[in-house]
């Protein structure tokens, strides 16, 4: 009886976290691909629409954009099962991933201060992840 009642709740939880992980991975590597592509372009992007259109032909930029579009679709699905104020703090893990990928693949200098920041972000994200994902109602049959 008790176990039976918990099944739909845990399924929804697994689904929410699966979408979250998928979203984080797609966005982190999409950003990396985009950064790599734009940094290797000869022209400056800001303010010129034509340069933007031409930049889409660069394989690094094109792949980055494709991954980011996919991330956006996964995020839409995520928004339908969880609150924006839950998703936003969890998305902060993406900032850590960006620093990590920037250091490993783009050889950026990441100071001790930045790794301290990483610990703060993990602490905050863990705190937030222990609260319920939807508070505005209408979508859960539980309880």
């Amino acid at each position: 009886m008790v176990l039976w009642e918990f099944v739909p709740i845990s399924q929804k939880l697994v689904r929410t976290y699966f979408l979250l992980v998928l979203f984080l991975a797609l966005r982190a590597f999409g950003n990396l691909s985009l950064a790599w592509g734009t940094k290797h372009m000869p022209e400056k992007l800001a303010g010129d629409p034509l340069v933007y259109i031409r930049s889409m032909l660069d394989p690094g930029i094109a792949m980055g954009i494709a991954m980011l579009i996919l991330a956006l679709l996964v995020r839409l699905a995520l928004l339908s099962v969880a609150d924006l104020s839950f998703i936003l703090p969890m998305t902060a893990i993406g900032y850590v991933l960006a620093a990590l990928l920037g250091r490993v693949f783009l050889h950026e200098a990441v100071s001790a201060q930045r790794w301290l920041a990483v610990m703060l972000i993990f602490g905050g994200a863990a705190l937030v992840s222990s609260t319920p994902q939807a508070t505005t109602g209408k979508m859960e049959g539980s309880k």
């Binding site: 985009l34 940094k39 928004l79 339908s80 902060a92 993406g94 920037g102 930045r114 301290l116 703060l120």
Partner: protein
């Protein structure tokens, strides 16, 4: 120029997120199976607020592209988190989401970390 790009990116992101969340909550639960993606795309085309949110997202994205070209990835991504507190407050006020003490504390901790990371 860097901070102009950051401002455009942040304001456009906040608008886009609010519009998206508002519209998707009205739509109910969505899946991302093969059928789910098709249904999501059809829904995007049919809903005005979602279309508007995607226009905002495009502006934010082009600003981010220009930013990431000149600034390091480990700066460009964390600096986009300056939209964070503003969005959480807006989620409470406009979308009527409940922000508990634990969640608010978590938010603040994450924000401190992000601010330090962006330095």
């Amino acid at each position: 120029m860097t901070w102009v790009l950051v401002t455009v990116m942040v304001v456009a992101t906040v608008l886009s997120d609010l519009l998206q969340s508002f519209e998707m909550k009205r739509a109910g639960e969505q899946s991302v199976g093969v059928r789910g993606v098709g249904r999501l795309l059809r829904m995007i085309a049919a809903r005005r607020y979602l279309l508007l949110s995607i226009v905002c997202l495009a502006f934010s994205f082009f600003a981010f592209m220009a930013l990431v070209q000149s600034a390091p990835l480990s700066f460009a991504v964390p600096v986009s988190a300056s939209s964070f507190i503003l969005e959480t407050v807006a989620a409470k006020v406009l979308l009527k989401e409940q922000i508990g003490g634990r969640r608010a504390a978590g938010c603040l901790l994450v924000l401190c970390g992000v601010a330090l990371l962006g330095k």
